[in-house]
């Protein structure tokens, strides 16, 4: 099931044009359903689901996008409980989950009805600074709740897996970490032994340990507010746990091993990190994964005072992506530390003459925090293809 992870992902290197904002604080939940009697507009919802073409922002998607969270809870989620027992309804419910995923992915947040409870509020951050509040995606929660109430027949299991992988990739590409945490928690409940889901969770905690998230965590805590983001050290420990589980379930999951090596190294266990990274590099031919592996291995070699080894790995990374700035910076600094200013300038020179446009000089390091988000396009298309075949 982790096929997508093993495929080369070299073509998915561009940063999303506007995806610098992300959400950190998670408290979660659709509007409470309360004790009022349901309105039973389920049939109207079902009709719109049948009319929706997966992957398009059609009238059916636009209409349901304007339903309030409360209406969705009362008119969709509550009646579903009584209908999942009939196998004849399962196809409709799968298409319903597809429709709500499409609304989440295709309708801008500002065009949706506002969240009705403070429990769904998340903190938005841009460039390491908090930018006010946003809301968790109601429609991904609806899709998730529909799937969670369905029995585990083979078709639904297959669809559910594609649904979680695609929506996880979509969230990861947009750095919507507040949505990702509960999303992945639900995915793990359903697919507890799946290495890719373990991998995605490891990526989440690895990113939680990064400065971009820890800055926001510190800012939030300094205001006396709570956050579900663990500390830097705790995040690294959790990342290591999930990556370890991923490679134990699938030893060929190379990116999980590379990331495992990195987070081990960040915890100061450099020899163990080198072992993991070398093991990963020995079996992958994917240039992107090789780039990450050599970059991190260079860093670990430097940490163990093996300057020649560090230089060798940084040079390999540079040769894989000649316009990427990170290996050039690393090589320049190595020369600088050795006392060779001309060497430091020579290593720096190639990237300084490049244009400012990131598209003309991609550095895979920039998209590293996305994790599975790099494969969003392919995974979302897999899901929609499956749904179209069901119509």
């Amino acid at each position: 099931m982790a096929d997508r992870l093993r495929r080369p992902a070299i073509r998915l290197l561009r940063l999303p044009a506007l995806a610098v904002g992300f959400a950190v604080c998670v408290t979660a939940g659709l509007a409470g359903s309360g004790s009022e009697p349901p309105q039973y507009a389920f049939d109207e919802w079902a009709g719109l689901v049948e009319r929706h073409e997966p992957g398009t922002l059609d009238e059916a998607a636009l209409e349901i996008s304007q339903w309030s969270p409360r209406q969705l809870s009362l008119d969709v989620l509550r009646p579903i409980s009584g209908r999942v027992r009939d196998p004849a309804n399962l196809r409709l419910l799968r298409l319903g989950a597809m429709l709500h995923a499409d609304i989440a992915m295709l309708v801008p947040d500002e065009d949706l009805p506002p969240a009705t409870t403070s429990r769904s509020r998340v903190i938005m951050s841009d460039d390491g600074r908090t930018q006010g509040f946003g809301a968790r995606s109601v429609h991904l929660q609806v899709g998730q709740l529909i799937l969670d109430r369905m029995p585990a027949d083979p078709t639904t299991e297959r669809f559910g897996y594609l649904w979680y992988r695609a929506t996880t990739a979509w969230l990861a590409r947009r750095y919507r970490f507040a949505d990702l945490a509960p999303h992945l928690s639900a995915a793990r409940s359903r697919f507890s032994d799946d290495p890719a889901v373990q991998f995605d969770t490891g990526c989440l905690y690895e990113t939680y340990a990064s400065p971009r998230i820890q800055y926001v965590r510190d800012a939030v805590r300094s205001r006396g507010m709570g956050t579900a983001v663990p500390s830097h050290d705790a995040s690294l420990q959790l990342a290591e746990r999930y990556f370890s589980r991923a490679v134990s379930l699938d030893p060929q999951l190379v990116e999980a091993r590379i990331r495992l090596g990195r987070v081990i190294g960040l915890q100061g266990r450099h020899d163990a990190a080198i072992e993991q990274l070398e093991q990963a590099l020995a079996v992958t031919g994917d240039p992107l994964l090789q780039y990450y592996g050599h970059l991190f291995l260079g860093h670990e070699r430097e940490a163990t005072a093996d300057t020649a080894g560090a230089r060798r790995h940084f040079e390999r990374a540079r040769d894989l992506f000649p316009t990427a700035q990170s290996p050039h910076l690393a090589l320049s600094r190595l020369a600088r530390v050795a006392g060779a200013l001309p060497g430091a300038l020579d290593a720096l020179a190639p990237i300084l003459v490049l244009p400012a446009d990131q598209v003309q000089r991609p550095d895979p390091w920039w998209v590293y925090p996305m994790g599975i988000g790099r494969m969003e396009t392919a995974l979302v298309e897999d899901l929609r293809r499956f749904a179209r075949a069901e119509r």
Binding site: Y215, D218, Q325, V337, G339, P342, L345, L348, L352, L354
Partner: protein
Amino acid sequence: MVAARIAPSVLAAVVAGGLLSAQSQRPTFSTRVDAVRVDVLVTGDGRPLRGLGPADFEVLDNGVVQNVTLVSLEELPLSVVLALDMSGSLAPEEAGHLRDASLGLINGLRPRDEAGLITFSHVVTQQQALTADLARVRAALDRPAPGGGTALADAAYAGLTLTESSDNRGLFVIFSDGLDVSSWLTADQVLDSARRSNGVVYAVSVGSTDGPRPDFLRELAEATGGSLLEAESTENLEALFVGILDEFRLRYLLSYSPRATTPGWHDIEVRVRRPGVVVRARPGYVSSPVGR
């Protein structure tokens, strides 16, 4: 004097008869290097103190008093590298303020001085290499458009290294309104490079009321004897930038040949034989053996 071979990174200038040789843009460092430069700001009552002579200074290298030469600044042009944060958090109006401030600083340079321009988001770009043709630097200021993340440590390293590409007296001015979210290099790695640098860093930070701040820019400036200037907005940046240049011209450049040249960190202590003055200088330098 012990004539050991010292890593050129910390001893990038050769002193001869009290004047720095500034003949080459890319000096060769394979031969003997025997001078440590210390750029010093002396203030009294908050203002730079003028007119000090060599006899007013006492410099200790790892506790050992050195024979100090005071370099004539009239003989020594400046090399100023600007590194400007053009990440997405900078509004267009703020980018305009930053451009005007940079122009103000460039316009204060003298005919033999050089300037260069780096901009950065998550991408570090040299918009203009160090040049004495200041019109090219002014033109380069029109190019950048804000967008993207912030690779502050990467940009700081690149700017600091470029500042040292000339034998001139190096001033590195780095502006940022954001937090580092994209760098490959770590803050510690760049601070280590700063301790090996002869350049002086003046850092300008804007808009920093958002909770606890990382101290990278402050530590970077202090490692070179420079300063961190914090502003609430970009509106008064021009006065700040021009003030940096004015203050830099009132600093003193000391040079000495170390009496002891053991590899590793050397503490530098600069004393001024005047009452009530404040001295700001790099706290030390890193000396490593050549050929490592």
